[in-house]
């Protein structure tokens, strides 16, 4: 990872939602879904955003294409030598950027309009963006896209309900890639699929990335999936990034106690690696009632006074060859005490 200039550079992104009450929807407070988040995505790599519900991972992804308008921050998107701040763009320019940065959603049952045929679904963005001008051209392009996702082009006149979940996700991917984007934001793209289908879609995403030099922002709650898909990983907790580094660093040398907890909680499909599971480690607090200081302090076994009063900033841990940033006051002390997976591999 030498001197790659980032294609996406997110700086101090925040998203606050109003909490409203009653019929008149009067504002009674705010939920900070994303709080001062900064990260970069390099061209051609996969960066995973990992977190549990309420971590703000989905909101972050959506803010990048302004599917929801963030409250503050910058999202620089580089095209060639120049870069633009997506959050400052006018409508027309924004649409240009949105052709280049596109989303794949979790649930292929909800993301495809049931009243449109596969042809219409995939051709829609092509017409809107004047990539094709007539139906013959559109059909040729749709056939090509269906072949790319390994579906039979003859099925293009069918409706989504005649397809299985995995096939629908392929259709959604074909639609996403129809405008030849550079960046794909994939929000839990396999969570709704059967186990035997997940690997198909994960491999397809990888293949497409190689063929088309795509850059992925891969949003997921599943560390096992992320381990296979990503080059770098950012761990989020209650709206903030708590740790970010390369995949190997995160798995072999997790520094943040929350990352360690996530790793220790993820089930391993091998009964010989069974671990003792604590029965009470609490759960993610309500994002509307975020603990002061480090948001993880209510569940952290190491928390001290400073953790309850001061928000830790994301800092370079400075010990690895790779960049490894962690937001914890105590990581140096914590690091030595726990290496959840290393202990297991010895068994």
């Amino acid at each position: 990872m030498t001197e790659v200039s980032p294609i996406i550079d997110v700086r101090n992104l925040s998203m606050k939602f109003d909490r409203v009450k009653g019929f008149r929807r009067s504002v009674i407070g705010q939920v900070v879904a994303v709080d001062d988040v900064s990260f970069t995505v390099n061209e051609g790599e996969t960066l995973a955003l990992v977190g549990e519900s309420g971590s703000g991972k989905t909101t972050t992804g959506r803010c990048l294409v302004r599917a929801i308008e963030p409250s503050a921050g910058n999202v620089f998107y580089r095209q060639g030598d120049s870069s633009v701040d997506v959050l400052a763009l006018e409508r027309r320019e924004l649409n240009e950027v949105r052709r280049k940065m596109r989303m794949v959603f979790q649930d292929p049952f909800a993301s495809l309009n049931p009243r449109m045929t596969v042809e219409q679904l995939i051709a829609e963005p092509l017409y809107i963006n004047n990539v094709v001008s007539d139906r013959t051209e559109a059909r040729a392009k749709v056939a090509e896209l269906l072949e790319m996702v390994q579906l039979d082009p003859q099925l293009m006149s069918r409706y989504p309900h005649t397809f299985s979940g995995g096939q629908r996700q392929r259709i959604a991917i074909a639609r996403t890639l129809s405008l030849e984007p550079q960046v794909v934001i994939a929000d839990e793209p396999v969570s709704a699929l059967d186990v035997s289908i997940q690997a198909q879609i994960l491999n397809l995403l990888k293949e497409l990335q190689r063929e088309r030099q795509l850059t992925y922002l891969f949003i997921s709650h599943d560390l096992a999936v992320v381990r296979y898909q990503s080059d770098r990983i950012a761990i989020m907790y209650l709206g903030r990034i708590v740790e970010i580094s390369t995949r190997d660093e995160i798995f072999e040398r997790p520094l943040h106690p929350y990352t360690q907890l996530l790793l220790a909680s993820s089930p391993i499909p091998d009964p010989r690696m069974k671990r003792i599971r604590p029965e009470t480690i609490g759960e993610v607090p309500d994002p509307a009632n975020r603990p002061s200081g480090c948001a993880f302090n209510t569940r952290c076994p190491y928390a001290t006074d400073i953790c309850r009063s001061e928000v830790p900033q994301l800092k370079e841990s400075g010990t690895a060859g790779e960049a490894h940033l962690v937001a914890c006051h105590l990581w140096e002390a914590v690091e030595l005490s726990q290496r959840p997976l290393e202990a297991l591999d010895g068994s």
Binding site: V195, L202, A224, I268, D270, P278, I281, E283
Partner: protein, 347 residues
């Protein structure tokens, strides 16, 4: 464990659903046993019949379906009760359902009524099944409340005296799941059927629920049928595992054999296709194709259309029956020794 008589024996169970295309087998000649104080994992993808199997044990199948064949024997308090061939509202079924065999579901929000307090809903089962005779009205009320508080405490609720009077929406996801488990345990059942109890939960919560169920199983000497599609969770909690595919039993084995000596090509393929957080990072090998529709089952073995080890002229002609290849290890596959029928009949 094998020396004991099984608590539950399901023999050749078939369940059909009536649909426009006629009768469809959701479960087809499935047999298994559950031993005292054992966790049996039932794994399968959608359409495998894993949930329908458990609904038939409690005789709470939807109206469009019926038990077409088979028996379910339940040994309890020195007698054996047959549950499959009696009316679903008959006395033997009612004496067992909810009292000796109870069930918890995936979505705690929909399993509880929003209109009643947690305490009232859990207390209902206690009042119905679990009170000593001869109490006055007010004594009954006190006794129910006392038992409910004890239950909530046993599932790790921090302040049961207060939580007993809260409504489901006031609880966090984790507390709701614990309350649901408490409801399932209200009458100290000898069998708890847990249908995807951790699927909707965040991973740190899933880990706690696994720990909780493992503890309750040993404390209360109860057996658990744990239904899930997640092999990681199975490896953590199950003693033995039944693998189902399209309504048929594919393989039954101890959890160690299933992961370290899997015999059925489907089991092997599932394990190869699953991402994991530990061990080597091999490429995932997906299972090709999609799960066929139950309306249009493949000829021969149900899995042959996707099986990498298929033998043409055998697997696509005859359906293998399950045989015991080692004590406690059953497989339905010609390659593992299922008898090949002579004469070429297609059944």
């Amino acid at each position: 464990m094998m020396d004991d008589l099984p608590l539950l024996e399901v023999v050749d169970l078939s369940v059909t659903f009536s649909s426009r295309e006629g009768e469809v087998f959701a479960v087809d000649k499935v047999s298994f046993s559950l031993f005292p104080n054992e966790v049996l994992g039932v794994v399968g993808e959608s359409g495998s019949g894993k949930s329908v199997t458990s609904l038939s044990i409690l005789r709470v199948l939807p109206a469009s379906s019926r038990i077409a064949n088979g028996s379910i024997f339940f040994r309890d308090e020195g007698r054996t009760i047959e549950l499959a061939n009696v009316d679903s509202e008959s006395e033997p079924v009612r004496s067992v359902r909810g009292r000796r065999i109870s069930m918890i579901f995936q979505e705690p929000m929909s399993a509880f009524s929003p209109l009643h307090t947690i305490g009232n809903q859990i207390g209902e089962a206690i009042a119905l099944h679990n009170l000593p005779p001869g109490l006055s009205r007010s004594q009954r009320k006190l006794e129910v409340r006392k038992q409910t508080i004890d239950l909530l405490a046993s599932v790790g609720m921090p302040t049961p005296e207060q939580l007993i009077d809260s409504y489901p929406h006031e609880l966090s996801g984790g507390m709701r799941q614990r309350a649901l488990i408490a409801m399932g345990l209200a009458c100290h059942p000898s069998i708890l059927i847990a249908d995807e109890p951790t699927t909707a939960l965040d991973v740190t919560l899933q880990s706690q629920v696994i720990a909780l169920l493992s503890r309750l199983r040993s404390e209360q000497e109860m057996s658990i049928i744990f239904i899930t599609h997640n092999l990681g969770v199975i490896a953590e909690i199950a003693d033995r595992v039944l693998v189902m595919y399209l309504g048929r039993e594919m393989e039954t084995a101890s959890v160690d054999d299933l992961f370290h000596n899997p015999k059925h090509p489907y089991t092997r393929a599932l394990i190869r296709s699953m991402p994991t957080i530990a061990g080597t990072l091999d490429t995932l090998i997906p299972i090709e194709g999609t799960v066929p529709s139950p309306n249009n089952l493949p000829t021969g073995c149900r899995f042959q259309t996707r099986c990498p080890e298929r033998v043409d002229g055998l697997c696509n002609v005859h359906e293998p029956v399950s045989i015991e290849i080692e004590p406690g290890h059953r497989v339905a596959c010609f390659l593992s020794g299922s008898p090949v029928p002579q004469g070429g009949t297609n059944d």
